[in-house]
Amino acid sequence: MEFGLSEEQRLLQASVSGFLEKASELDVVRKIAEGDQSARDVLQEGIDSLGLAGVMIPEDFGGLGMTLLDAALVEEMLGRYVTPQGFLSNQMAVAGLLASGTQEQKETWLPKIAEGSVQFGIGIAEQTGAREGAGLDEKDGKLTGRALFVTEADKASQFIVADRSGRLHLVIGDAGGLSRKKLSTIDVTRSVGELVFDSVAAEALLTENVAGAAAQKMLAVGRVLQAADTLGAAQRMIEKAVAYSLERKQFNRVIGSFQAVKHMCAEMAAELEPCRSLMWFAAHAYDAEPDQVALMAAHAKSHVAEVGKFVARTATEVHGGIGFTDVLGLHFWFKRIGLNRQMFGSPETARQDAARLQGWV
């Protein structure tokens, strides 16, 4: 019995962190957020050179053959450095392809993901509660309708989208009849948008036995990675709050010496530490206990979202007025955590899923 990261996993995380600390420092993130394409390219090339895009892809398909936990450790660092990145969407695509792609589909796409030559966008928001009547219908290999809150909608070269029945389809980014639009959100480090389909050619991912099962698998992976992202961002906010509390003086003493401030920091840390363990287990379940993963992912998603919300708010409070400004850029983390909370089902939705998965509904 051992519940913890392996030496390799610690090294993996340290190397990603070591790279992002410089490559994704706040100034770079700000530039990318303002639309600086060359800054984005430089960061992307650097990330590609780490060779992590294929972390979850089996070696047969050109990947590293590692686990979701490894991918989650990477995502945690992307959250920590509020890195603008399509890693999460690509990992969801990997999960979808592995769950219900044909051998040929896997052979076509997985090596491309592994070598970093494609960016997938994911459109499964309608699986957790459609808004605005959005949804896709498939007829004779063509998709019609709308998909909302699609990740990487403006940047992706391909998409995996779910239709109303939950079946997954592969769609080429520049397919005829497909129009794509970015939606502006609070979090400028991520890209979310809308796809409108007018009889668009699509290739179904059809080897799954039950319609929707592969989409659920993707959803679980998305939720685990999202929890990891929030974990990384929240951890950084706590560190920033503690560091600030040791610098800032009021009433002739550092504010970190006030019990009120210490307790805010201690509560954040105490809330977040178990989240790390929960996220680890949820990720581990994907590879080791697959019938647990949907449930654990729902727990990780909802619980880490709640704690993340508390940390985002409390760390801002520790900073006082400056935390509310753009000066230190603390809001980039605040908003990253905010977006994670809302996507792939709100905490209530994920908890409903957890209850349903246990046969309580």
């Binding site: 309608e126 509660g129 003493r253 006082g320 400004t325 905010g338």
Partner: protein, 390 residues
């Protein structure tokens, strides 16, 4: 306890309802406007109890009438009067502590929205420990000459005037050396630099003073009494920030949204989880609204409500923030959209408020400072001892 509506009050309610019917077309959508403020003052729905001599409506304070107005406006979804730092904080301070001349000069144009004030309190090294402020004013002839810097000054960029705390008696103990000055933002030597906040708006500013000359007559209270005057303003600020009627208006907007909005084909109001959270928030709003009535009653009787008043800023700001957070939660993915996006609900108000209200939990005395005040002044507990080492 007497909340019975005598015929006089029933008639008053009818009067308010009639006003709303007659004027609702002229009400601005969203934020209050100057034109709307004028109409409201004329009819006694803004500046209601401020004497006519100073540009108010001049009514006797009456809890029930205030409540009827608030209820009918909330029900109709109409905006109330202008609320800004001048109207809600500075005007009541002047009424309490200003000279007759100052009241005549400043209250009316402020109420009308013709003069916008900003609050020059916080400095880079003096936030929670406001009394340590260092911006100094030295008398030279008939003027104070001000040098120093303020920070986090809301709306300083748009403001016409500032009420400002400066140190005039450098040798006095820190609370006794402060004065409360009034001056135009156009005075030579003032430089305003906008600061962007987390909402994306540049509603904050840094204000720099270099040899700014202000006549010595433009002081509220005496030299060295500024801390006392500032605390009057802070009292009104905290009342404004915790305003339960604002919470009521927001709650109504959320109820409407839950009746209209759907998720996966289901009405949000049909979702028992969201409904339970809604009703919990409603309980809190009602508790704060009735609490507000209790405070107004104390105020009319000239009593100090003590603890009951000290909790308003903490609880009211928290409630407003929670209402915005709830609205975002029930909007799901729609709750992450922001400025200019398609499908944005209520013009992004909830997303904006969720961030701005966190600012208000910090501004006007942080939540932690409020808790210190509640425990020390409200519950008689001792101050935190100084640390052994800093």
């Amino acid at each position: 306890m007497d909340l019975s509506l005598t015929p006089e009050y029933e008639a008053f309610r009818q009067e308010v309802v009639r006003f709303i019917e007659d004027y609702r077309d002229q009400a601005p959508r969203g934020y209050p406007s100057k034109a709307w403020q004028k109409i409201l003052i004329e009819h006694g729905y803004a500046a209601r109890t401020i004497p006519r001599d100073y540009g108010g409506y001049g009514a006797e304070p009456d809890v029930l009438k205030s409540r009827i107005i608030a209820e009918e406006f909330t029900k109709a979804g109409l905006p109330g009067g202008l609320s800004n730092q001048g109207i809600s904080m500075f005007v009541p301070t002047l009424l309490e502590l200003g000279s007759e001349e100052q009241k005549k000069q400043w209250i009316e144009p402020t109420l009308k929205g013709d003069i916008v004030w900003c609050q020059g309190y916080s400095e880079p090294n003096s936030g929670s420990d406001l009394a340590s402020l260092q911006t100094k004013a030295v008398v030279d002839g008939d003027d104070f000459v001000i040098n120093g810097q303020k920070i986090w000054t809301s709306t300083a960029y748009e403001a016409d005037m500032m009420f400002c705390l400066v140190r005039t008696e450098p040798d006095a103990p820190k609370h006794k050396g402060i004065s409360y000055l009034l001056f135009s933002m156009d005075t030579p030597g003032i430089e305003v630099r906008p600061l962007k906040t987390m909402t994306g708006a540049a509603s904050f500013n840094e204000v720099f003073f270099t040899d700014v000359r202000v006549p010595t007559t433009q002081i509220v209270g005496q030299r060295g009494e500024g801390w006392f005057v500032a605390n009057a303003t802070l009292k009104y600020e905290r009342g404004m920030l915790g305003d339960p009627n604002q919470a009521g208006t927001r709650l109504n907007a959320i109820i409407k949204m839950m009746k209209e909005e759907t998720m996966g084909g289901e009405k949000l109001m049909d979702n028992p989880l969201y409904r339970d959270r809604l009703v919990k928030l409603q309980s809190r709003v009602l508790a704060m609204q009735y609490h507000g009535l209790r405070l107004v009653t104390h105020q009319i009787k000239g009593e100090d409500p003590g603890l009951a008043r000290l909790i308003v800023k903490l609880m009211g700001c928290e409630l407003n923030h929670d209402l915005a957070g709830f609205a975002i939660d029930i909007l799901g993915e729609l709750g992450v959209l922001y400025h200019g996006s398609s499908y944005l609900r209520d013009n992004g108000m909830w997303q904006h408020r969720y961030m701005f209200d966190l600012g208000l939990i910090i501004g006007g005395g942080t939540a932690q400072i409020q808790k210190n005040i509640i425990s020390e002044r409200g519950l008689g507990m001792p101050r935190e001892p100084k640390p052994a080492t800093v």
